[in-house]
Amino acid sequence: MRDRILVNLAVRNLRRHTVRSVLAMIGIVIGVLAIASLGILGASLSALVGGLVSDVSDTILVTPHVAVSSGDPFDPRNILASRISDRDVALIEKAAGPNRVIPMFRTAERLVVGDTSGYVTVYALHPDDIPFLLDAEAGRYPASASPGVMVGSLLAEDLDLSVGSRIGFANESVRVTGIAAERGMGIDINPDYAVIVTDARYPGEDPGMVVVKVGDPADIGEVKAAIDAQVNRRKEKVDVLDSREVLELYYETMDAISLFLLGIGAVSLFVASVSILNVMVISVTERTREIGLMRSIGAERRRVLVMFLFEALVLGVLGSIAGGVLSALVGYYASAAASGLLGGFVAPGGAAATGPAVAGYIAFGMVFGIAASLVAGLYPAWKAAQLNPIEALRYE
């Protein structure tokens, strides 16, 4: 095990210059810390947005054609009190074939629960359609015969409602028959803060949107084209959207932000590796005579190279370990702060990156830190190995 000697030599050399070794290591610690915690932060932001947005990939949304929209599906300016006629709904049903077509009417009603009162969003659907769109967390779906309503999970949580609670709804007293499971914002329906009722409550109202549940996601393009061809034959009457198309933009944005954060972390690590390069170059210059001596008593070029690489590696490994441990803490706090900032008003739960993702970013940061140190050590080590033994011995 001749390499053992080289490791020992490398460690001894680093120890001899404690201050500069520690300072070089601090650079790596901070660099790894930056890259790993910014990675964790990016992952937490993605998780937060992922939690807010529900990807209903088997869903096509048909809405009345809007003249001009801002392009952002969640921009409140795009929500219009517009309707689709019964004739067009029939055309959509024809175009959708065997896939389920769910017309939906959206309005607002006054809700009274104890001391709290105010308007909430209401979705009116045919009782048979509700189970296709929503999962019940507790209780039953509203039935056409009874006047009961279903409430969104976050509304229920905020107002302390449970199955069987009595609430004042549109100047009537009704029972909560069920609570819809939390779902996040979807392009079709946002039930978390809403009340869901049967369409028997609003007879004669045309739906504001139609949701088509496509059994096989591969058919989405085909069904969209069929609806477009059927309804928009003579003039542009409806807009046809699918979830993937809409959410792609969001995912792209989140990916770009994560990449950007990682990139900034990498900049710090780059500066840290320049610092290591610097220390190693100085160390090679200082030890020119020592290298000459080693070479003249028979140490091969390769050995000199390996010894200096070990020095860089030891700095990198120790710095990365310390940085990895620290980044677990810092990443957690940064994520908590970010979700506090963004999630305060949109998601009460708050979301964080999962354990494996966090571990992945820490490992990534550490590997990156070690690799950066090795790369930085390569040139000085090569330079040391290339020294001519005689000249090196004579070096003053």
């Binding site: 201050v19 500069r20 300072l23 070089a24 601090i26 650079g27 901070i30 660099g31 930056a34 910014l38 054609h65 809007v66 003249a67 001009v68 801002s70 392009g71 952002d72 969640f74 921009d75 300016r77 795009n78 929500i79 219009l80 009190a81 517009s82 959206r106 607002a108 006054r110 809700l111 629960v113 001391d115 105010g118 308007y119 909430v120 969003t121 509304l155 905020d158 803060y193 003039k235 542009e236 933009l249 792209e252 944005t253 770009a256 932000i257 900034i264 900049v267 710090s268 780059f270 500066v271 320049v274 610092s275 610097n278 220390v279 170059v281 100085i282 200082e286 900032l341 008003f345 949109v346």
Partner: protein, 400 residues
């Protein structure tokens, strides 16, 4: 002066390590300044999207949940206020102008068979000039129906004053095109058409569904007073209305974007910190190497403060050179990053169309980054310089 040339000579003697230290500072300064510029650009973009409608109070039907944050999706509820409530608000607002807003949507035909649903806003003709500015044309009058069209709508369908449109089957003449207004606490007419109240009620047949009441308070000091008056009058027994003022909303957005800028500056600072550690290291090594040289200098009469100055100059030269290059680089990097970020944030939307990033604050961030770079270099050089100055001449000379 001689000390400065000493410092320069020393740095030149070890040009490679000096270069590497400068690179660290360059990257650090470039990071902090470009991220600052990026933050500034994002702020600018948001400020551009949000229209500061001045001292405005917006009164909407009370929602069961959700705070007063203007972007909160929970408050996007299609509820309305009755004319009795509007009258109450008018009385509570006293001398200030209360503007009830009718809001609906209908299918609009723009000619050549192009149709689409459009937001229709109904306002008292007297209130329109108070609230909205024109890009082209005239304001409509109560007895002379005409529509004002939002700027994006006009652009999309090539509308101008005199164009004819059909709203829900009823013909209407375009009287004017509205100036771009952006996101505001009250109404967002950029994608909408605005019609006189009389035409609106005649067309939709509704009389009692006001989406909101806008109160224009000329005097900032009176805002809280008016809010309290409305609150006392309407929310006496139970909460009927939510009251938001424009300052509050702008403040909320400002807070968020200020925090983002601070965060970006902070992570830029990380790189600079690493660069400073690097300088500290290099200077420390330089002092150790030159112990006997320092001893000689001290023994021929150079004072402590002068030794300190030589080493501080070395650190400062590294800092100044690095900061100068970093500052120049960050102008380019910051611009590119801003363009890219705004591209990402506004992808697929009409937000920020024709928006130019960069303004004078960018120069401020560059200066800030450079000052920070020079400052940290001087700070990092201080300990080694102080250590060098403290060496005892005789012992230092003996040092091998």
């Amino acid at each position: 002066m001689i000390f400065l040339s000493f410092a320069l000579r020393n740095l030149r003697r070890h040009w490679f390590r000096s270069l590497l230290s400068v690179i660290g500072i360059v990257v650090g300064v470039a990071a902090i300044a470009s991220l600052g510029i990026l933050g500034g650009s994002i702020n600018l973009l948001v400020a551009n999207l949000i229209s500061d409608v001045g001292d405005t109070i917006v009164i909407t039907p009370h929602t069961a949940i959700g705070g007063t944050f203007a972007g909160d999706p929970r408050t996007a509820v299609d509820a309305t206020l009755s004319s009795r409530e509007v009258d109450d608000i008018r009385r509570a607002a006293g001398p200030y102008r209360a503007i009830p807003v009718l809001q609906g949507a209908d299918e609009v035909e723009f000619g050549r068979g192009e149709t689409g649903y459009t937001r229709v806003i109904g306002l008292d003709p007297e209130d329109i000039p108070v609230l909205l500015r024109l890009e082209d044309g005239r304001y409509p009058r109560q007895n002379q129906p005409g529509a004002l069209v939002g700027t994006y709508l006009a652009r999309e369908y090539g509308l101008s004053p005199g164009s004819r449109i059909t709203v829900g089957g009823e013909d209407l003449r375009v009287a004017g095109v509205l100036a771009e207004r952006g996101f505001a606490v009250d109404i967002n007419p950029d994608y909408a058409i605005v019609v006189p109240e009389g035409w609106y009620t005649g067309h939709f047949g509704t009389r009692d569904g006001y989406a909101m009441v806008i109160v224009r308070v000329g005097d900032i000091a009176a805002i809280d007073e008016v809010k309290d008056a409305v609150d006392n009058r309407l929310n006496r027994r139970e909460d009927v209305v939510d009251i938001v003022d424009s300052r509050e909303m702008l403040g909320q957005y400002q807070d968020i974007y200020d925090q983002i800028t601070v965060f970006l500056l902070g992570i830029g600072g990380i790189s600079l910190l690493v660069a400073a550690v690097n300088i500290l290291n290099v200077m420390y090594i330089a002092v150790t190497e030159r112990v006997s040289e320092i001893g000689v200098m001290r023994s021929i009469g150079v004072m402590r403060s002068e030794v300190l100055r030589i080493f501080l100059y070395e650190a400062l030269i590294l800092g100044v050179a690095g900061s100068a290059v970093g500052g120049v680089l960050s102008a380019a990097v910051g611009y590119a990053a801003s363009v890219a970020a705004i591209g990402v944030f506004t992808a697929g939307t009409t937000f920020g169309e024709g928006f130019a990033v960069f303004n004078t604050t960018a120069v401020g961030y560059i200066v800030f980054g450079m000052a920070f770079g020079i400052g940290t270099s001087a700070l990092a050089g201080f300990y080694p310089a102080w250590k060098a100055a403290r060496l005892r001449p005789v012992e230092a000379m003996r040092h091998a």
